[in-house]
Symmetry: C2
Subunit: 147 residues, 2 copies
DNA sequence: TTAAGTGCAAAATCTTTGCAAATGT
DNA sequence: ACATTTGCAAAGATTTTGCACTTAA
């Protein structure tokens, strides 16, 4: 008989038939604690005890399972963030706005924002949208406004 | 006295105080001939006589000067396309829709499409938008429709 | 017990840097 | 002639692969 999940992260791993290992729980804890998407290098620096290769594999697995999603920042670096509850293995609900702060470089996932419908020229069959905005996030904007 | 430009590409290089070299003209010819953005690896395969490093440097220079712009595809690979006439050194007009075809992998720059305005939550100061759509391009869509 | 996951070593890529030779003006 | 640009070699960085050891179930 299998061990009972003791928290949400363990439940999440259970749900996707993934073993509840230390590195995986660390990744989940890390990503959940942040409101911004985190790059692989950043995660690597934070979780120094986890092998880099393991991190690559965990991030790939999580992305395939729809646990996290990958968003590229202005430099083309992959950043990872927890998926909203609407995501599953078959369909990623990552059609929300991603905001790249040009000052602090953080990537914000603005899940709640309502996006206006966009129509494409005839012939194009759209499967999904990804929308990025860049500029100053509230924190950096505030700082730059101070006299 | 400087050599007279014999075509638009040479004029373009002149305008940005760049020497009219073979590799640079090749890049301009290549990118202009395509309606889709081209990745660095693709360019590399086509222009086999040009050194890879030279290509990197040319693409960087052109991007800085506002001659081409860089767009990342679904895999985070950089793709390059000629800028519209609205681009200059100070301001890139690349806020148009980029379409990634999931079948042929081509990246289309849909310059002409009218984009609806998008409002962000308070505090965010937007400097620019980048919008991607993915799905099937007209060519691939057509093929898949045939019975 | 055993399939899945991890860590290490090493390969394969991708990108940047330094410098001498070549080239445009 | 001279500053720019190129090509080559080599360094650095990033990502992938193979395999033996470990661990969750």
């Amino acid at each position: 008989m299998s061990k009972k999940p003791v928290n949400n992260f363990e439940k999440l791993l259970d749900k996707h038939h993934l073993k509840k290992t230390g590195p995986r729980l660390q990744v989940l804890t890390m990503l959940s604690s942040k409101t911004v998407a985190t790059s692989q290098p950043d995660l690597e620096n934070i979780m120094v005890d986890v092998d880099r290769v393991t991190l690559y594999r965990i991030l790939n697995t999580f992305e395939e399972k729809g646990i996290i999603h990958k968003v590229f920042d202005l430099n083309g670096t992959a950043n990872y963030a927890m998926c909203s509850s609407k995501c599953d293995e078959d369909h990623h609900h990552d059609e929300h706005l991603h905001f790249n702060c040009t000052s602090c470089k953080n990537v914000y996932c603005l899940d709640d924002l309502e996006l206006p419908p966009i129509t494409l020229p005839n012939g194009f069959k759209v499967q999904g949208f990804t929308l990025y905005a860049n500029g100053l996030c509230p924190k950096c904007n505030q700082t730059s406004e101070k006299k």
